[in-house]
Amino acid sequence: MDINDIPEISDLEQPPAPSRGLSLGSIILIFGVICVIAVVGMQFANQNASTPTSGPAPTFTVTTFDGETFDLKAQAGKITVLNFWGSWCGPCRAEAPRIQLLHEDYAERGVNVLGVTYLDDVDNSLAFMNEYGLTFPSAPDPNLQVADSYQITGAPETFIIDQNGDVVDFVYGEITDLRMTQLRDLIDDMLANG
């Protein structure tokens, strides 16, 4: 911004010989412009990082409502169904029983179902879990760290993470009965092959 860093042209009588190159002030100014552009560009790249629908799942560690620690890195070799929900959200209510059933059917076969609450009050979350008899572990997400790393924009959103820690499927919104059938088929395949 500072246009006055440049040495003052004091001689009014004679036009100075055109100097080659830029003065220090000009270089600083250009550097400043580049910095602004770079920061905006970084933010743009950051914002554009879309929801991970394939490739390595962002790792995280959370403490569930039961007080247990869940570390995604430690789950290598196991399939993880990561479900973001909130007690305030209608579609979450609709899909909750289906996810509970999934947990009941697959827990013994080594499939993790983990709920992470999105923008929810702890008391409300616990009441919600109670109401729907949810027995799969759920964890609060203070400061939305998990939600941010998965670029969550609302609830519910669900990620299927395979034995190698890669995201293999993603459901935006409610998991309908039809979608749940597809997910179960997918998990069956993964269990058979992995």
């Binding site: 006055n4 305030w88 923008l119 009050d121 400061n143």
Partner: protein, 188 residues
Amino acid sequence: MKFNIPSLNPSPLHREGLDSASLKMMVGILVVLMSIFLFALPLSAQESTPEAQPTRAVTSDDVNEVASGMFCPICENEPLDTCRANTCVIWRGEIRDMLEQGFSEQQVVDNFIGRFGQRVVDVPQDDGLRLLTFIGPIVLGLLALIVGIITFSRWRGGDVPPRVTTTSANLDAGNDDYRSQLESDLRE
């Protein structure tokens, strides 16, 4: 071309008196304005001290008062008091509950920040972020002020004795009397 026509060139003494008076005035104006700018920020930043209040009847206006300084992360840039999304309605309900339990406004806000981070308020409450928020415009404002002052001094420094050209001579002559200046403008 470059004569300094005496009648158009104000006497040095006159000029000197003129400028020191006006210089003082300018500096005065600048100091006053910038102190308004600088001090208005930290002072007004210290509002709403938290104090415990007894359980009370909470009106929607009380809730909205607190909510007006907050955002819900679902609908960014829409203040919580006017947002109609489901989450906002629930959050306003939570604010009402807390106020009824005797939370102060500040405690309510702190509670939300504790759970969801600084994004829920429309000016960060965290000291470091607050500093970042307000130091930016102050530093840049000061920078702009310095630029302005340097520009003045450079303008003045490079102009002794003043080189009066035809156009500025006309204008300078016009300055002697408002009427003639006006007329000269009208003639343009």
